[in-house]
């Protein structure tokens, strides 16, 4: 551990702690809840090969304050390690690579605890996984011994631990995440423009009453009052009129454009500006906000899913079941409760915000009551229910994946077919050959091109006749199992990003393999 030296000239600290200040720039992305999850996590890296990509990934996790990490590595530091690994220096030569990397990584952040293990006959992967320590996530780098790989996979399945495999050689790399079973995410951080849910087609009583206050005598309002009616009140008013005239609400695209024209025509033009900003806002919002709420397929997938006995005990599935009940009864999801910016008097805007917030609170209360009534629902945190309701329209379930040879063949055929059209129109070609060629060297440090191609042919008969695959295999051979620091650093950035998503359970992780080509600076994500 390095000693923490506090600069004596620093002013006495008021308010937020040193830690909050250090992490300020990232708390704005994943909030205190995400940070807590990171700080509670312990990550295991099984390191091998030239050993850089895993360490670079850890660097990007130590900096934002992961709780603990362990590196297990059989290698002793030699001269060529120094040219590729930033976390080794001249003093490291001849020592355990795991120990040296842990020492320098830990200097990056005194809040993080690092452990190391030199893999030897007496300290095997088996010992490592059998001890009492519980890992939150395991990463391993290729090449790896087949029996060690089997142990890691077994551990992951048994303890429901996510696993990430990483392979970096020369200008190529790929990583593949393996999530245990089904992986639900509540806080997917959808694009803020997608989250507006104003319920204009199904206003509740209080909202309708509020809108009527402004529009019951709309033609006699003063210029100022008329120009400051919040746009959603304008829309509610014209929707009511439309319904009175047509018997139904506008639903087709044609009806909506006609409706938009009526809204625009409502603006007063006998003023110096020749129009009204709030009416412009209303017209612009028609297509986006006037649509019946549909249940996103990802939410439907959650509602339709039958959790197994183990899963059903988790708070996610208990709340999901309560929200499903809410949806079945009310025919809509709980209201998120936020109101976008709009032209309005500030007092009116604040009232409007409060009406939406109040309704959102009522919905949360209804869901909470349902949660409490379910087995295991007594101890669930109210805040968790609230977060779930707020994000209900965007929850997502990612299904775990199992590798199967059939799947590989299907992908290979589909990618080859895509390439035929891509080549004709000058589109970039599939990166799947990179995956196949690296995969063929999963358990050997180096291989010649013909061996790589022969190994691929075993899984996908005839694949080696593809000249592009031969070319990629050639490049993998040329790298001789060596990593380029720059490629591994970049890959380490991408892997750490996925680790953060998985541990914080925020944002949607990639599903499930990302292939990187450093020659063309491209990535491709495939579900393998």
């Amino acid at each position: 551990m390095t000693e923490i030296i506090t600069d004596p000239t620093l002013p006495i600290l008021h308010g937020p702690s040193d830690k909050e200040k250090k992490y300020d720039r990232q708390l704005r992305l994943w909030a205190a809840s995400g940070q807590k999850a990171l700080e509670d996590a312990h990550i295991l890296l099984l390191n091998s090969g030239s050993g850089t990509v895993g360490v670079e990934t850890l660097k990007n996790l130590v900096l934002p304050g992961i709780g603990q990490f362990t590196i297990a590595d059989a290698n002793i530091v030699n001269e060529s390690d120094l040219g590729v690994n930033f976390f080794l220096d001249e003093d490291s030569l001849g020592n355990s690579r795991a120990e040296c990397c842990v020492k320098l990584l830990q200097e990056l952040n005194p809040d993080v605890k690092g452990h190391w293990l030199p893999l030897q006959e007496t300290h095997t992967v088996q010992n490592l996984l059998e001890n009492d320590r519980k890992y939150t996530l395991i990463m391993y780098t290729y090449p790896i011994e087949p029996q060690d790989l089997a142990l890691v996979q077994e551990y992951g399945n048994k303890h429901k631990v996510p696993i990430i495999a990483i392979h970096s050689a020369g200008f190529y790399s790929y990583f593949r995440t393996h999530l245990p079973g089904n992986f639900p995410i509540v806080d997917t951080h959808p694009d803020s423009t997608a989250t507006t849910d104003l319920r204009l087609l199904t206003p509740w009583e209080e909202l309708s009453k509020f809108a009527n206050e402004f529009t019951s005598d709309i033609d006699n309002l003063s210029a100022h009052e008329h120009g400051h009616i919040p746009y959603l009140v304008i829309l509610l008013h014209y929707l009511e009129k439309w319904k009175a005239e047509h018997g139904t609400l506008p639903s087709t695209y044609k009806e909506k454009t006609a409706f938009r024209a009526t809204v625009s025509a409502g603006a007063r033009t006998n003023n110096p500006e020749g129009g009204e900003e709030n009416f412009d806002e209303a017209a612009a919002a028609v297509l986006k906000t006037i649509s019946a709420p549909t249940l996103a397929s990802s939410v439907k997938a959650v509602f339709d899913y039958k959790p197994n006995e183990f899963e059903a005990k988790s708070s996610f599935w208990i709340i999901a079941s309560a929200v499903k009940k809410f949806y079945e009864k009310n025919k809509q999801l709980p209201l998120p409760g936020s109101v976008p910016d709009m032209k309005a008097q500030s007092t009116v805007y604040v009232r409007l915000q409060n009406i939406y917030k109040k309704k959102a609170r009522q919905d949360v209360a209804e869901v909470l009551a349902a949660v409490r009534a379910l087995p295991g629902g007594k101890d669930i945190d109210e805040g968790e229910v609230e977060t779930f309701c707020k994000n209900a329209a965007f929850i997502k379930l990612i299904h775990g994946s199992e590798a199967s040879p059939d799947n590989i063949t299907t992908i290979a055929e589909a990618e080859a077919a895509n390439d035929e059209t891509a080549a004709m129109v000058g589109m970039p070609l599939s990166l799947f050959p990179i995956y196949l060629s690296l995969k063929a060297t999963s358990h050997v440090p180096t291989a010649c091109t013909s061996d790589i191609l022969a190994a691929i042919d075993k899984t996908i008969p005839g694949a080696s006749s593809n000249p592009r695959l031969a070319q990629v295999a050639e490049e993998v051979t040329r790298a001789k199992g060596g990593e380029l620091h720059n490629i591994s650093a970049l890959t380490g950035g991408m892997v750490a990003q996925e680790v953060i998503k998985i541990i914080t359970k925020q944002y949607i992780p990639i599903d499930n393999t990302c292939i990187f080509d450093g020659i063309t600076s491209r990535t491709q994500v495939l579900r393998i």
Partner: protein, 531 residues
């Protein structure tokens, strides 16, 4: 196996040699800079110069991994250099703790590099380096990140679009009257707290603030004059700083008296809600409970504070700032009046602006905000994390290999698209320069002049007309200043040095001669150098 065995293996001998012989300039040693320097050093680049004006702050440590706690307040450029040197002693590193806009970094100096990397966080410096690289005709690799998003772009004069080929968004500004008289959103009150309240009491005047837009001043001349008097009266209250009555004097001035005056302007409130003044004595009477919990309140920046809590923080931060002011004065190190300016990472100023802005929001019936949110809004904070920087810096180096080989055709503009499900990186082919770009489309040339002797007339007659063959109808601009045209001849007799032209000034020559059968010449950017 030797140290660069794998580099030679994968890069091949010719490229590896080019990498070793390259002279690199890296502008900025922050988030991207730390990553980039590490990658450059381990890729074996021969010589790297680092320029950064900044010093290290605690909030850098979550990603700028070349720095440690004990480096806080030290030069980023120097610490980064020392840290990186350890990992490849064979690379020649040079650090400049300086502003890239300093005159020592002139066009000739830029010409000495093979590639320039921009690892900056602000528009102004990015544009400057872009301009210098266009003038020096050196390839520039420009990069940036915001949270999970990032991008990398290769810039090369005449080949690839420059930074200014597409117009950039300029920072938002607010009319003076919105900030001072008729706020309607939280941001208006925050700008008021930062650019008016704090700077009138502890700093320079609000007129210097880049967030204030004075373009509508003339339409509201009367109100502007009133506001000027009000600001003057506020300045006078500074005299009471350090006395027990200071908080009350200041509070009642800005939240009571000024509000009462505003309320009396009937015209203003016809269409808006009238502000409600606050009285210090009344509020403070109810704040004894909050006063007792002061330390707890100050630790809780995520929650929105109540009126009483805001008053307690207002009084407390005001006394902290007043004490600092008194210490600065008594230390006598600064001869001029000392100033405290807003810094998002300076707790005292942040607390004061948070409470000051929230109290004003309460007066105007506007939503109040937590200190955490106000910090972001007042400090224009951009989220930043290690992972994005690692990806972007890696992409920069990959692009540099193409630049070294002269394969500009295969360089790319790469965007990080972290939320796309099919791929994490999206790339665009190289964009051609925009023919209307004010920076890279004009012709460029340079001239050596003795600025203390030569006049503008000498430059126009001897160089532009005789040597370059321009006709009568030309316009000469220096930045936004018109120096010469057919009707503006006063400056011709003045020496160039008197006109503010120094080494490395850029003049723009516009040809207005429409009669020429070939049409007027394209604009010329003239880089003036001291002979």
């Amino acid at each position: 196996m030797s140290r660069d065995y794998f580099n030679t293996q994968s890069l091949g001998v010719p490229l590896n040699r080019m990498v070793k012989e390259a002279r690199i300039l890296m502008v900025g040693a922050g988030g991207i800079g730390c990553e980039l320097l590490k990658n450059l050093v381990l890729a074996g680049f021969g010589e790297v110069h680092i320029v950064d004006l900044d010093t290290i702050d605690l909030s850098n440590l979550n990603r700028q991994f070349l720095f440690r706690h004990e480096h806080i307040k030290k030069s980023k450029a120097l610490v980064a250099k020392d840290a990186a040197h350890k990992f490849n002693p064979r690379v020649k590193l040079e650090a400049h703790h300086a502003n890239i806009k300093d005159p020592q970094f002139n066009v000739d100096w830029f010409k000495g590099f093979t590639i320039v990397f921009n690892a900056l966080d602000n528009l102004d410096a990015r544009r400057h380096v872009n301009k210098m690289c266009i003038a020096a005709d050196i390839p520039l690799i420009e990069s940036g990140t915001t949270g999970f998003n990032g991008q990398v772009q290769v810039i090369k004069k005449g080949v690839a679009a420059c930074y200014d080929c597409t117009p950039k968004e300029t920072p938002k500004t607010f009319p003076v009257c919105t900030i001072r008289s008729t706020p309607s959103q939280p941001i208006h009150c925050i700008v008021w707290g930062k650019s008016y309240l704090l700077s009138e009491i502890f700093g320079a005047s609000e007129d210097d603030s880049p967030e204030m837009d004075h373009s509508e001043d003339s339409e509201n001349a009367q109100e502007i004059e009133k506001l000027r008097q009000e600001a003057q009266a506020l300045k006078n209250i500074r005299e009471a700083m350090g006395t027990d009555s200071f908080p009350q004097l200041l509070f009642d001035k800005v939240y009571k008296d000024d509000v009462v005056r505003l309320r009396s302007m009937e015209e203003m409130w016809k269409t808006r809600r009238r502000p409600e003044p606050l009285d210090y004595a009344t509020v403070i009477e109810k704040a004894s409970d909050a006063e007792a919990r002061k330390d707890k309140i100050l630790k809780d920046g995520q929650r929105v504070w109540s009126l009483e809590e805001n008053v307690v923080v207002f009084r407390d931060s005001l006394s902290r700032l007043s004490r600092r002011m008194a210490e600065m004065k008594s230390s006598g190190e600064v001869s001029a009046e000392p100033v405290i300016t807003f810094d998002k990472d300076d707790e005292d100023t942040l607390d004061f602006v948070t409470a000051g802005a929230n109290l004003r929001s309460i007066v105007f019936g506007i939503e109040t905000k937590s200190r955490f949110d106000i910090k972001q809004m007042a400090g224009n904070i951009i989220p930043a994390i290690a992972t994005t920087n690692a990806i972007v810096a890696g992409l920069c180096v990959l692009q540099s290999y193409k630049v070294l080989r002269g394969q500009f055709g295969s360089t790319k503009e790469v965007f990080l698209s972290p939320f796309a499900s099919e791929r994490l990186l999206a790339s665009d082919r190289l964009r051609a320069p925009n023919p209307d770009c004010p920076v890279c489309s004009p012709a460029q040339t340079r001239v050596l002049i003795d600025m203390s002797r030569a006049t503008l007339g000498d430059l126009v007659d001897d160089f532009l007309k005789m040597e370059l063959g321009y006709g009568e109808e030309i316009v000469v601009n220096h930045g936004d200043n018109l120096l010469y045209d057919l009707d503006e001849t006063e400056n011709l007799a003045k020496k160039l040095s008197e006109l503010g032209i120094k080494g490395d000034s850029f003049l723009t020559i516009i040809d207005d001669n429409d009669d020429d059968p070939k049409g007027p010449r394209v604009n010329l950017i003239l880089n003036v150098q001291e002979s």
